[in-house]
Each structure stands twice: as structure tokens, then as C-alpha cells.
């Protein structure tokens, strides 16, 4: 049963090739095989959203996929949001708006929100709340996260006003 499968996957622009068991979750593959520990593992059954990554550009829960399924696909994790030592506008906004306390859920929020803030220049509060409905934060009560989303959108789409 320990049959190994080859996974060749592009993560944050780098191509990785590993031999893995079919049962290895994508979340564990990212953390243990690739050493990219920015992706956090919370509930491991698709409720908390901490392990959210971009899979071919769309946010998915990496604990609800097997690594073998990522063969030939493209993934972005929180490490890929900005070059080393820099922050993505979304990360800056989270920092400035106090949208995190312990930070455990933050990578998941950021990866869920990246495509959302890029494609929603003027979202309503309701739309923001729906966008983050699949991510749990136990510290902030979400209000500051919503403020951070608005701030990030200001930075990305309305930089003259920022």
C-alpha cells in the first residue's frame, strides 16, 4: 500500500518534483515535503480555512486535496504573495488595520482574499463577509479583517486616494 506517485508541481513559480504516497494531503505536502510552513493546518476537515492556497489561481482548502492531484498544476502559498522581505498590499493592510492577533488564520485569509481584492474594486460589506465566510478567526471578531480588506482594495485599485 506504500506505492509512491510522482508529483511535479509549480509552487510560487518554482517547479518541485517529489515521490509521495497517494494519501498524503496537499497541506502536508506543502509543509513537510516542500518546507513551506506558512500554510497552516487547523481542522483538517475543511471547516477552518487556515490551509487555503491558490490552486490554478482559485482558493481551495489544501487539506481537502491529495498531493497527487496537484501533479501538473500550479499552486500559490502565502510565501508567494510578495518577494522575500516585502509585503503584498493585502499583507500591509492586515498589518495596518490590526486584522490579526495570533496570526494562525492569517495565511488562509490572505490566500482567500488575494483574487477577491484583485477582482472587486468596490465590494459591499456583505460581499466581503461572504468572501471570507469560509475562514475562521478566533481572535479578531472579523471587524478589523473587513477594514483591512477595504484598505487593501484602496491600495490596489485607488492608490491615488491612499
Amino acid at each position: 500500500m506504500s506505492e509512491l506517485h510522482t508529483v511535479r508541481v509549480t509552487v510560487n513559480g518554482t517547479v518541485y518534483e517529489r515521490q509521495v504516497e497517494a494519501r498524503m494531503l496537499l497541506s502536508d505536502f506543502i509543509r513537510h515535503e516542500l518546507g513551506l510552513t506558512g500554510t497552516h493546518v487547523g481542522c483538517e476537515h475543511g471547516v477552518c480555512g487556515a490551509c487555503t492556497v491558490l490552486f490554478d489561481g482559485e482558493p481551495v482548502r489544501s487539506c481537502l486535496m491529495f498531493a497527487v492531484q496537484a501533479d501538473g498544476h500550479e499552486i500559490m502559498t502565502v510565501e508567494g504573495l510578495a518577494p522575500e522581505g516585502e509585503m503584498h498590499p493585502l499583507q500591509e493592510a492586515f498589518h495596518e488595520a490590526h486584522a490579526l492577533q495570533c496570526g494562525f488564520c492569517t495565511p488562509g485569509f490572505l490566500m482567500t482574499l488575494k483574487p477577491f481584492v484583485e477582482t472587486h474594486p468596490n465590494p459591499t460589506d456583505e460581499e466581503i463577509r461572504k468572501a471570507i465566510s469560509g475562514n475562521l478567526c478566533r481572535c479578531t471578531g472579523y471587524q478589523h479583517i473587513i477594514e483591512a480588506v477595504k484598505l487593501a482594495i484602496k491600495k490596489i485599485h485607488h492608490s491615488d486616494a491612499a
Binding site: 483538517e44 482548502r61 481537502l64 486535496m65
Partner: protein, 292 residues
């Protein structure tokens, strides 16, 4: 927790997939979007010896117009594709209205139509909507293919008409008849959670404005999508007055559902919610039918 070891097969065609299902039978599980199966495996509640991953079967991912005015949906079509489909928005407004209620955006990016109905969670949206739409489900095996009406596809809790060597390949959803209004609503404790109760309605009015046909289908209050017999009994042939809709909703919630109680809500509260939501969706469906 981590899933137990399994043999992993990744066919690229339906023929190849059903050959694997025929070979491994009860030991095999098709893996669609994995948004229910993988958590179940992570908890080790399911321990299939063989997984037949359908995610590389491209021919199962499509949304096409049907000749009867309805829509054909491939089993591996993801919820997000249905959500963004103009064809669905035009032809299947009830489905279009319902898809955003399914879980969260991340789940909708992976979950599939065929996977959801094959899993047959009685609290899920798509089984109820497929029944409300009088949909049909096409099943394939190496023995051939067959069409099963949605009403006969869902047999009970997580139980469908699928044989171990069969898989869902297509869902056919006919368009709603002319002068038909629709509505879907559900109540959940948090947005995206499994709803305590959900209700879909489709109401067809005659040229004179009386009720010709009513479909009222509940989710989360029985072991499968529950189709109301009382609502048509009360309403067909009648003016859709507020009193008549109230009576239909009350009787449906008394006679046609079998709610359970748990830590989230008592059975009595679920029954109450069912009557309130039924009244709400019937009212909205009638308004939309009158506006068409």
C-alpha cells in the same frame, strides 16, 4: 487526522473510470471534488481501498444547452462553474439562486455537481434542487448507461440508486414551464454552514392566475430531499392568496417532513423553520410567476 492508505487510480476517460469501478466494485470509491469524501477519510469514517480520481476526466466537465430548453451538466462540473454560468442564469434561475448557498467559496471551487448528488447528504442543496427541477441523472457502468429521475435517485441517508460499479456522468435539468416562479431559501446558524432547513419552490400559474402546479422540496428535514404532497393538494386550482399559501406551508411542514433534533436545533424548531421558509419561498415564487 490523516486518511488511511489506499490505491490511487487516475483515469482520463469515463470508459477507463467505469472499467476500474467494475474491477474493484465495493472496494472502490470515485473521488470527485473531494469536499465531503476527503474529510470523511481524514476522520477515517470512510476507508476505501481504492480511489478512482475523476478530476482528470475532462469529458465530464461541461454545461450545455439541452434541446428541450433545459441544461445538461457534466458530473465533474464544479459549483463555481454553475454559479458563473450565464446559461444556468438564463435557463435555470432556481439553480442559479441556490448555488451561492452551497458551503463557502473555497468549497465551491472544488466541489462538483455529480459528487454532491452521489454523496446524497439530505442537508445539501443540490439534491433538493435536482428534485425540485424534476431533473434526471445519467448513470454509467461497463454494463451501459441508464437515466434515473431525481425523485428515484435519492433513496435515503447518503444512499442513492447507484450500484457499486456505476457513476453519475450527467445531470439533465429541464427548464421551468412558462408562467413559473421560483425561489430558494435556507436557514443556517452561520453563512455557509449546513442549513438547519432549506426549501425550494417552483409555482406555475394558469393564464387566469390560478395555481397549475407546485413543487415544494425541503432539505435537512428528512433522510433525503422531501417533496411536499400537501402543498399541491392545497394550492392546485386555487388563487394563490396569502391565506392559501400559509395553509400550504403549514400543512407541508406538518405532513411532509420528518425533522430530527440535535445540538443545533430541536425537531420542533426545525419544523417551525420549515413552515416559515416554505411560506416565504412560495410567496416569492408566486410573485415571480405573476411578473413573468
Amino acid at each position: 487526522m490523516k486518511p488511511p492508505a489506499f490505491k490511487y487510480l487516475a483515469p482520463t476517460t469515463v470508459d477507463e473510470a467505469v472499467a476500474y469501478l467494475a474491477e474493484y466494485g465495493y472496494d472502490a470509491k470515485p473521488l470527485a471534488g473531494g469536499q465531503s469524501l476527503i474529510p470523511t477519510m481524514n476522520f477515517r469514517l470512510a476507508q476505501p481501498a481504492v480511489l478512482v480520481d475523476l478530476n482528470r476526466v475532462q469529458e465530464l466537465s461541461y454545461i450545455r444547452p439541452a434541446e428541450d430548453g433545459g441544461v445538461l451538466i457534466g458530473a465533474m462540473t464544479r459549483h463555481v462553474q454553475v454559479e458563473r454560468s450565464d446559461l444556468v442564469a438564463q435557463r435555470l434561475p432556481l439553480l442559479h439562486e441556490t448555488v451561492p448557498f452551497i458551503a463557502h467559496p473555497q468549497i465551491r471551487n472544488r466541489g462538483t455537481y455529480g459528487g454532491s448528488i452521489s454523496h446524497a447528504d439530505p442537508a445539501a442543496e443540490l439534491p433538493a434542487i435536482t428534485v425540485a427541477h424534476r431533473g434526471r441523472v445519467q448513470l454509467r457502468s461497463t454494463r451501459g448507461s441508464r437515466w434515473v429521475p431525481a425523485e428515484e435517485f435519492f433513496l435515503g441517508l447518503f444512499t442513492t440508486a447507484l450500484e457499486p460499479d456505476e457513476m453519475v456522468v450527467e445531470i439533465a435539468l429541464p427548464a421551468l414551464p412558462p408562467r413559473t416562479g421560483w425561489a430558494f431559501d435556507e436557514f443556517s446558524r452561520r453563512h455557509g454552514d449546513f442549513a438547519l432547513v432549506g426549501v425550494a419552490a417552483a409555482v406555475t400559474l394558469s393564464a387566469q392566475g390560478r395555481v397549475d402546479e407546485v413543487r415544494l422540496v425541503f432539505m435537512g428535514v428528512g433522510d433525503r430531499p422531501m417533496t411536499s404532497a400537501a402543498a399541491p393538494a392545497v394550492l392546485v386550482g386555487q388563487e394563490p392568496s396569502d391565506e392559501a399559501l400559509e395553509e400550504a406551508a403549514q400543512r407541508a411542514a406538518q405532513e411532509d417532513i420528518d425533522p430530527f433534533g440535535d445540538v443545533h436545533a430541536s425537531a420542533a424548531f426545525r419544523r417551525h423553520l420549515a413552515s416559515v421558509l416554505a411560506k416565504r419561498v412560495l410567496t416569492r415564487a408566486v410573485e415571480r410567476a405573476q411578473a413573468r
